[in-house]
């Protein structure tokens, strides 16, 4: 998997840095939740501002266990794919979907409650910015330069020393 866009080494390294930072964030969130059984997204989902019926359904007793596990699994998949540089485009898509769900539940729209968030936002918040950054990573994957993807590519012709 390669990028069609010509980038300087600095540009490519910047993308790699961005990939690692976002992967770090996702993996830490996922692992922390995995090892903290008391965590649940119930309150976040049930207090959703938009698409309330959908999020209320997701936060219902019958669904919340599945939703929480899926969330943890997805956070870790995104984190691992970005940090390891392997299937990072799939990871980016997963990450964008997760972040858009978080955004839709509590969008930074005028009039919507911003309780529980640090900083001040108008329409654009950190979830949306991180989703946009993942879109950039989706467009310009760097796993072939820095990550397991590069080993896969070269595995057909390993150099012997």
């Amino acid at each position: 998997m390669t990028t069609d866009i010509n980038l300087s080494r600095t540009g490519r390294n910047s993308l790699i840095l961005l990939r690692i930072l976002i992967g770090w964030h996702f993996l830490y969130e996922g692992v922390l939740k995995l090892y903290n059984p008391a965590w649940t997204s119930k309150a976040y989902l049930s207090s959703a501002e938009l698409l309330t019926p959908l999020f209320q359904w997701l936060s219902g007793d019958g669904m919340i266990h599945l939703v929480d596990n899926l969330n943890i699994f997805s956070l870790m998949v995104v984190g691992l794919s970005l940090l390891l540089g392997y299937f990072e485009r799939i990871g980016s898509v997963f990450g964008i979907c997760l972040l858009l769900m978080y955004y839709l539940a509590h969008p930074a729209l005028p009039g919507a409650s911003q309780a529980g968030t640090e900083g001040s936002y108008w329409i654009i918040n950190k979830n949306l910015i991180e989703a946009a950054a993942l879109f950039v990573l989706y467009q310009m994957p760097t796993g072939t330069y820095f990550g397991l993807q590069s080993l896969k590519k070269n595995s057909l012709n390993p150099k012997t020393k």
Binding site: G23, G30, L32, S150
Partner: protein, 542 residues
């Protein structure tokens, strides 16, 4: 140039390629370790604290079965609280059902109608109503009559309680009618659910107590928060001496709207022809027909009980159901009419200090070092800043409302080691019970929010929101059907009523009012008949 060179290098593996290929692995390991350590530590700290506290937050078993013949209920007083109590029984007024359906349509988070419709069927019939305003009585008849049961209107409570169409009565009248109607109903052999405050003066408090104790029917006072899960959990917290010695309790009323200040709407059809004014007045001083007095009776001592009886009675019983500390040995009250100078003669700002010098919730220090407690009730009808109800102990502070939160005290003896080891942080709750964290409730007015925050509107059973009043009337009905004693019986009602009257008297006489525990009476104040002073239609006597 450099791009081309790097492309060449990637055609096969070099050590550098390998390092670049697996460089993410140690980062994954580090992040995983950090996340897992933090997660495990958090879980262990949480488990350790919960094990130390050992608080039981499980709901009680439901009161007994509702099987058997339907219990026939008579509603006496169908103004504001009466219809609410009918909903708790499973009967919604037509107008209420329509407005709730409309509200749910506009706001999907508004669950009032769905909660009502999901309420358990209590196997009761509303067979009779007595209200002194024709419009309201007719509303009850129109709303609750069915093909099987036609609601009968009785013009007087006496006729209703003596009729053979009711087994039990719910009394939701102005305060000055609570005791006379309850006594009449008990003497007629009818089970009684009476709203708070239980009585309007001292003499009738003894009279009602005597009649209840001599009867074999079931008596319940309407302090529905006794069914609220957080209050049941708080009882366990105190039982396990988690708070240590509680020296101070603060409870508050914070309201700032017309409804909260008892400025209720006056019905346009109310006039001397549609309201039985003479009967409304009862033992109060006779005055010409006055629609404001009829609809906003809480604003006058002649019919209501002011902040001390109307709202402090809630707060006192909220604390008494947790601590069972009984009647204070003395009460000092102050305040005034500072925010609603509209002709009322009950205060709208009031502070009541209640002393319990011989009471203790327990101790973690040297035996005998701690004893005695003050409860401060502070109220204003001119500001709704959300002051919480706090039980302030040597080892911890507990905030109780619909949720319950406990903070360790920085100088606690019991939790000293855990605080030093930083396992407990005095700024972070060591325990939190928040039944609403998993759901959203429709709270549509400032006054409704005030009651909800205090745990007076609803509670939770098995994750579902349930009207506390529904559980409270259910408990009463269960005792009627299956035997047993309701949680707010005559002992609790007597304590609530006497404490409220002490608060009102202290305010009106401008002096400390003492309770004689041995004689079970309020100590006389020279020169005054206490009941006359309490009921006198003046803001203050001294």
């Amino acid at each position: 140039m450099s791009e081309d060179k790097s492309e060449d290098k990637r055609s096969n593996w070099s050590r550098r390629d390998l390092l670049k290929g697996i460089a993410g692995v140690p980062i994954v390991g580090s992040v995983w370790w950090a996340g897992a350590s933090k997660g495990v530590n958090n879980t262990q700290a949480r488990d350790s604290i919960l094990k130390t506290l050992n608080i039981n937050a499980s709901p009680p078993p439901p009161s007994g079965p509702m099987a058997g013949d339907p219990i026939r209920i008579g509603i006496i007083g169908f103004g504001i609280r009466g219809p609410q109590l009918c909903r708790a029984l499973g009967f919604g007024q037509k107008s209420w059902l329509e407005s709730m359906a409309e509200a749910a349509k506009k706001n999907p988070k508004d669950t009032r109608l769905s909660s009502f419709l999901e309420q358990e069927h209590l196997n009761v019939h509303i067979t009779a109503v007595c209200d002194l305003f024709d419009v309201r009585a007719q509303d009850a008849i129109d709303s609750f009559s069915t093909d099987v049961v036609k609601v009968q209107r009785f013009r007087t409570h006496q006729e209703l309680v003596e009729s053979d169409v009711v087994d039990a009565v719910i009394i939701a009248t102005p305060d000055h009618w609570h005791a006379p109607i309850a006594i009449a109903a008990l003497q007629a052999g009818k089970h009684v659910y009476v709203e708070k405050p239980m009585t309007h003066n001292i003499k009738e408090t003894y009279a009602l107590k005597d009649v209840v104790e001599a009867s074999n029917v079931v008596f319940q006072v309407g302090h529905q928060h006794r069914q609220t899960q957080s209050f049941l959990t708080a009882q366990d917290v105190v039982k396990k001496n988690i708070l240590g010695h509680v020296s101070l309790i603060q409870a508050n009323t914070n309201r700032n709207d017309d409804n909260g200040a008892w400025q209720y709407p006056i019905h346009e059809k109310a006039n001397p022809n549609t309201v039985d004014w003479k009967q409304f007045i009862g033992n109060a001083p006779m005055i010409p027909f006055n629609a404001e007095h009829f609809f906003r009776w809480r604003k006058w001592w002649a019919y209501g009980s002011g902040l001390s009886g109307d709202l402090m009675s809630h707060d006192y019983d909220r604390v008494n159901c947790i601590l069972k500390m009984g009647i204070p040995s003395s009460v000092v009250a102050s305040g005034g009419i500072y925010t609603h100078k509209d002709g009322r003669n009950v205060p709208d700002v009031m502070q009541v200090n209640m002393e319990f010098p011989d009471f203790s919730t327990g101790s973690s220090q040297v035996a005998g070092k701690e004893k005695g407690m003050t409860m401060v009730y502070s109220a204003t009808l001119g500001n709704q800043y959300g002051r919480t109800t706090a039980f302030m102990g040597h080892d911890a502070t507990m905030e109780v409302g619909n949720s319950l939160t406990i903070y360790a005290d920085g100088k606690s003896t019991k939790f000293k080691e855990k605080i030093v080891s930083e396992e407990m942080d005095p700024n972070v709750p060591i325990y939190q019970y928040d039944p609403a964290s998993g759901s959203v409730d429709g709270v549509t007015s400032a006054t409704a929010k005030y009651f909800a925050d205090k745990g007076l509107l609803w509670t939770y059973r098995d994750g579902k929101r349930v009207d506390s009043t529904h559980l409270h009337v259910r408990e009463w009905l269960s005792c009627i059907r299956n035997g047993g004693t309701p949680s707010c019986n005559i002992k609790e009602g007597f304590e609530e009523a006497m404490t409220s009257h002490m608060g009102g008297l202290s305010y009106k006489l401008g002096r400390r009012i003492d309770w004689n525990q041995a004689k079970q009476e309020i100590v006389q104040v020279e020169g005054y008949d206490l009941d006359e002073a309490l009921l006198e239609d003046k803001e203050k006597i001294v």
